[in-house]
């Protein structure tokens, strides 16, 4: 091997040899990945969002494998062929200093094209998939059909959903230290510590917080949206089959951050309606005491009687709040 590296045409041979090894390994790697790993890439395919994001992940992975292998093959080849175990090579390698312009230009062109393709592909995915399950803020730029209408209707208590109606179901996620609770504006605005959603339905998660920043992460649905106080962060997903999923807080929110999780369920549409109407009735007494349904609440920053801000202006805001009512 070392003999060949020094002959006059060795340069071509090295590159050709590396390229062959690289192509073979990349093809094998990609095929193995797509057969054995790709279908099982987390978080599964419980929702349309999860499935789409899994596809994107797999596309990136199929591209990453050749990149990784390219560098690894090159490094290994260099070490094996050109490595100098005794560290006793001549002080001067002999070859003239050369800056191969072709190599530089083609490297820059190839990386740029790859990067631009990735950015275009990612943008296409995030736009066509309605934010891909990420929190889109109060004014979603890319909403599924009917979602904005359902959101508006929910605010005035006129949103409807029934099995087979194909309506978008808005669900409010309220983060508070250290628990998520959920409100269902379509069912009288009841609040529950359980998250249950119907199958085959587009869900609009409206995520907000009553104190510090949390992040709502419905893992198997692949929805993630930060919960900020006073902000409605909307994320969309479309559920598929019934199944269980885990909700975790993914933004550090204090001592019990690690235990801020609960399990949610995708149930069949009939089961969901049954659960929702039952819970609505059971919770009616408490629902009447909750503040009117709104997308955001301005919690009293002083807490129940925390009193951090010691000032006569308290409470400051004129906006309707959770906990703003005073004892009669």
């Amino acid at each position: 091997m070392t003999n060949q590296s020094t002959n006059s045409t060795g340069q071509v041979h090295h590159l050709r040899r590396m390229t062959i090894i690289w192509v073979v390994l990349s093809v094998v790697g990609d095929v193995l990945f797509s057969i054995f790993v790709a279908p099982h890439v987390p978080p599964g395919r419980l929702s349309e969002t999860a499935a789409n994001n899994q596809n994107t992940f797999n596309v990136l992975m199929e591209m990453a494998i050749p990149v990784l292998l390219g560098v690894w093959v090159y490094l290994s080849y260099s070490l094996i062929v050109w490595g100098d175990k005794r560290n006793a090579s001549a002080a001067f390698s002999g070859a003239a200093a050369r800056t191969n312009k072709t190599a530089q230009v083609s490297w820059i062109v190839i990386t740029s094209v790859t990067i631009l393709f990735l950015a275009a592909y990612g943008s296409f995915a995030v736009i066509t998939e309605h934010g891909s399950g990420g929190g889109e803020g109060p004014n979603p730029a890319w909403a599924p059909a009917g979602a904005l209408k359902a959101e508006t209707a929910a605010l005035v208590g006129k949103a409807t959903w029934s099995p087979g109606s194909k309506n978008v179901l808005p669900v409010q996620v309220i983060g508070q230290q250290w628990k998520f609770t959920y409100r269902y504006p379509t069912f009288g605005g009841f609040e529950s510590p359980q998250l249950i959603v119907p199958a085959d339905t587009t869900i609009a998660f409206n995520v907000t917080s009553l104190d510090v920043i949390h992040s709502f992460w419905a893992y198997q649905l692949d929805v993630k949206a930060d919960a900020n106080p006073g902000v409605n962060d909307v994320a969309f997903t479309e559920t598929k089959n019934p199944g269980n999923f885990i909700v975790r807080c993914s933004e550090l929110c204090g001592i019990w951050h690690g235990s801020m999780y609960n399990s949610g369920k995708v149930e069949s549409q009939a089961d969901f309606e049954n659960w929702a109407t039952t819970t609505e009735a059971a919770n009616a007494a408490n629902t009447a005491l909750l503040p009117a349904f709104a997308w955001t609440y301005t919690p009293d920053a002083n807490g129940a009687d925390g009193g951090y801000y010691n000032d006569t202006n308290d409470p400051y805001s004129t906006v309707e709040t959770y906990g703003s009512k005073q004892p009669s």
């Binding site: 006073g230 301005t298 801000y309 000032d311 202006n313 400051y316 805001s317």
Partner: protein
């Protein structure tokens, strides 16, 4: 920092001395410009916060009832600070023209006005008229006032050290005007004064912008 020459090694040719002297003087030039860059980014954070909170208007509490910090104090602080900058700037002009005594009178008055501005900026805290946490504007104002204390201290300190140095050099040069001396320390002094005057212009401009934001808008 005109002590460049002291770390020269055994070989101390006039060429090397001159080379290091030039490096030193251009360091003062580069350093002061870079310092303005640093300061700009810090003030930009304040300006960003101001407009960010203003446009968010969370809880309708950006600036309820359009509270404003006491304008008389604001005018005093800004006025004296502006006066410092102008005295430093025009003092330097006189220095370039050759009048060291004009420069030193202007600079010492500038230090005085700068300290007055500082005094009023601190006194203003006791006459705010609003609770720091009562609104976005109130918070930003407190942030601005604290940063402004820093600016005033730096501007007065830089002005004071240049004039004090100029006087000492003049004494040690037996009365020669440092503006015309080719002595290394005098050359470094001139670079320092030029940079200081440049910084004072920056202070005046940003001061005007922040004054408009916090007292007029």
């Amino acid at each position: 920092m005109s002590n460049t020459l002291k770390s020269t090694g055994p070989s101390d040719t006039p060429e090397e001395r001159e080379y290091e002297m030039r490096a030193h003087i251009s360091s003062i030039w580069t350093g002061s410009r870079l310092f303005i860059g640093i300061y700009t980014f810090m003030l930009a954070s304040l300006v960003f916060s101001y407009f960010y909170l203003r446009s968010s208007n969370n809880g309708l509490l950006w600036r309820p009832d359009h509270v404003t910090a006491p304008r008389p104090y604001g005018l005093l602080v800004f006025g004296f600070s502006l006066l410092t900058s102008m005295l430093a700037y025009f003092g330097r002009k006189r220095l370039v023209k050759g009048s060291f005594s004009d420069f030193s009178v202007a600079a010492w008055s500038g230090v005085g006005t700068g300290l007055l501005a500082l005094l009023f900026q601190i006194l203003e805290f006791s006459h705010l008229g609003f609770f720091p946490g009562s609104s976005g504007y109130a918070s930003c104002f407190v942030g601005f006032a604290v940063m402004n204390i820093g600016t005033l201290v730096i501007s007065a300190y830089w002005l004071e050290t240049t004039v004090a140095r100029g006087m000492r050099i003049r004494r040690e040069l037996s009365g020669d005007n440092p503006e015309f001396s080719s002595h290394p320390r005098a050359r470094a002094f001139r670079a320092d004064v030029a940079s200081m005057a440049y910084f004072q212009v920056f202070v005046a401009l940003t001061g005007a912008l922040l004054f408009a934001m916090f007292y007029l808008m």
